[in-house]
Amino acid sequence: MEDFSVLIGGKAGFGIDKATLILGHLLNQCGYRIYIYHDYPSLIRGGHTFSIIRAAQTKIAAHRNKIELLMALNRETIDLHQARLNDGALVIYDSDAVKELVLSRQIRTLGLPVGKIVKDENAHEVMRNICMIGAFAKAIGIPMETLAKIITENFPKEVEMNVKVAERGFAAAETVKSIAPPAAEPLPLISGSQAIGLGLIKGGLQDYVAYPMTPTTPLLHFLAEQANDFSLKVIHPESEIGVMLMALGFAYAGERAAVGTSGGGFCLMTEGLSLSGMSEVPIVIVLGQRPGPSTGLPTYSGQTDLHFALNAGQGEFVRFIVAPGDLEEAYYWSAQALNLAWKYQIPAIVLTDKNLNEGIGNFDIRSVAEIPEIPPVTWEGKVPYKRYEVGESGISPLAFAPQKDAVIKVNSYEHDEFGITTEESTVTKKMQDKRLRKEKYLREELKGFRTVNTYGNDDRSTALLCWGSNKGVCRELAEKLGLKVVQPVVLSPFPEDAFRKAVGGVKKLIAVENNATGQLARLIKSYGFCADSMILKYDGRPFALDELETSVKEAIR
């Protein structure tokens, strides 16, 4: 099997997460490239949750609806997902939980008495998942040693019992399909949240402040776990308002700080965002999108907050907004968001979604461009110190308390160069011009970055326009169908020139977005570009490769 998908499903509490990770690592060890999509409702036990682990010969960042293997810990999983089974697919199931299985002829089945095995071994019920994985390994010809190694590495406790249960599953199964020869050296398998976290760390993060909110909660958890290793202060305060303001306090005091949230929490941060704009105290916000309005579908994905991010906060100020499309971009741009926010003393938003944050895939650090340190402009001791000295670029040198001979005053009111409040009309204009002038220099600097990605030859006249986590699925599909992909990564300041170049020669531009109104299409419209058609999905589920293929074919017909 060169490119196949395994779906594992059951109730929340069945350990689907853990099983997913084991399966992913198992296939990763075998030299496959992996992408994992995880679908779960907003609850702690019960309901139905599933993952699709896709394995391929080349790097991927999308899942397919159709699957080759289905691992069912209960009947519901089969009922809900049997339509996904490709001809020749294999269903591995717990024959103690699923009696009388009737499937089409083309489907092969492998029932194991998983419940009984686990009981026999006196193991915890949750280990049914490991038993199934044992059978899975055997079924596709992965040696038990490989699996044992993975289990050992991934379980902090009860390794032996897990291995034993896996062996029982292994023994009870037979080899049905065969895995492909290794494609390459295994690569790290991480989530988008981890990529963002590592990127922030790479960018010099010292403080991470957040109030839990899906889909950025895993980022909080990850950084909290890494706090000691990376010398981070990770704080979870009373509310998102507290989060944002506390982080601005950190930044004032000279530390690099970031915060993370989703739409509802971001609402509460907007007043602080505007304060960042006025006071020129930098901040990085990781904004993970999910379907709204309001609480919406908390554990699903959406791309509905682009214009909110672009315009949030009263008044006019420069902001840097970047929407990374995959793990490497998430890492790279999270680091650069810190660098640029601190250099320009502006707020920066890393705009992601549940799909990117919780998707898991191979991370190839070698393919990430060099991340040069972009040093902030700091005070050289010229007295008197003026926190808001007006210069050509609009960037005033920074100093941090305690600093002899410098009085460092930042201010939410309009203010003069020293940071003292003013209501005078000429000073107001001068200072507003100073702050807005930074955009020009930021734009200039961004010309040295890949702000708009394109994939596929320039002679392809039909292009998919996408942003954020849709990169993966669009890129793979475009490759298959011979289309071009245009993916703006930086969204503010909008890289107009780079975008114009990117769409040069494109006759038909098809926007692919996870929202109901075509937010990127609307954005480019305000720069005079036009999407010819739109493929929009807003049920919280990301595009699957095969699903998008159908829609795109229709659109280009």
Binding site: P188, A253, K409, N411
Partner: protein
């Protein structure tokens, strides 16, 4: 004592006779004194919300963060956690800290973070031209309650005691010597300290006479006894007519929040090495 003029060039726009002047003068004197005995001036950072009170940042030539209405506290906390050597002082209003941003106050107290909060409690929203505040008495005819407010005030000190604050005091803007003592003690207190200053707003809520008749200084009060503190704090509920105690109500020693972070320093190289290591472990 070396004298420094802590003033700035900003014109002062408080009303003549405003109680805020005492707070300004008091803090100047206290900081001048402490800079010789306790910490250099550049270690001071003041943080404010928005309101008449908050204009004090413009009048003090020290490090400052003029934040937004109700949000001085979390800013101050961030600064303190980042640099525990700094002396972080919040000047907040009653509308500001007991209203819009009350939650932050409770949590800062709960954490016992080592910052000082000075409340300009004029019991009115003054900069917005006169509305009732969380400490205004029942029947207050502010402009949002022209027929008299129908809410009883909070007793902020009682609330702060319940929130585990470790230093609680009250002064008035017309008792400068006591006020300065309270400022000094609260700044030197290791832990969360709050001074509720009954600040007279001459324009909208001139309670000068009212206070003059009722205030007395705490004597023989054991500020280490929480129950004694509570009794004194409950004596006057900011509404009914009663004697108004001034001085330190409560004081307690406890470890502070910012002490609990002592992350080892890390170099860029170490960071890179550990990132690589973590990635290796993810294979």
């Amino acid at each position: 004592m070396s004298q420094t003029n802590l003033g700035s060039y900003s014109p002062n726009t408080w009303c003549p006779g405003c109680g805020n002047f005492s707070i300004l003068n008091g803090i100047k004197t206290v900081l001048n004194e402490l800079k010789d005995t306790a910490f250099p001036l550049e270690n001071v950072v003041i943080v404010t919300g928005i309101g008449c009170h908050a204009k004090i940042v413009d009048y003090l030539n020290v490090n400052s963060f003029y934040a937004i209405h109700g949000r001085a506290l979390p800013v101050a906390e961030g600064i303190k956690i980042a640099k525990p050597a700094l002396k972080v002082i919040c000047f907040a209003g009653d509308g500001d800290a007991y209203g819009e941003g009350l939650e932050h106050l409770v949590f800062a107290a709960k954490r016992n973070i080592d910052i000082t909060v000075i409340i300009h409690n004029n019991r009115s929203y003054s900069l917005t031209a006169f509305q009732y505040s969380p400490t205004s008495f029942v029947g207050f005819k502010g402009r949002s309650t022209p027929h008299g407010s129908i809410e009883a005030p909070l007793n902020p000190l009682e609330l702060m005691l319940a929130s585990r604050a470790t230093f609680l005091a009250r002064g008035t803007s017309h008792g400068l010597p006591l006020l300065m003592r309270l400022f000094k003690e609260s700044i030197m207190h290791k832990g969360f300290a709050l001074v509720d200053v009954l600040q007279v707003c001459v324009t909208y809520n001139n309670l000068y006479e009212y206070y003059a008749k009722r205030v007395y200084e705490l004597q023989d009060h054991d500020a280490n006894d929480p129950m004694a503190a509570l009794t004194r704090i409950r004596e006057w509920d900011y509404n009914s007519d009663a004697s108004i105690a001034l001085g330190v109500f409560y004081r307690k020693e406890a470890t502070t929040f910012e002490e609990k972070f002592a992350p080892p320093h890390i170099t860029t190289q170490e960071r890179d090495v550990r990132i690589k290591q973590l990635l290796r472990e993810s294979i």
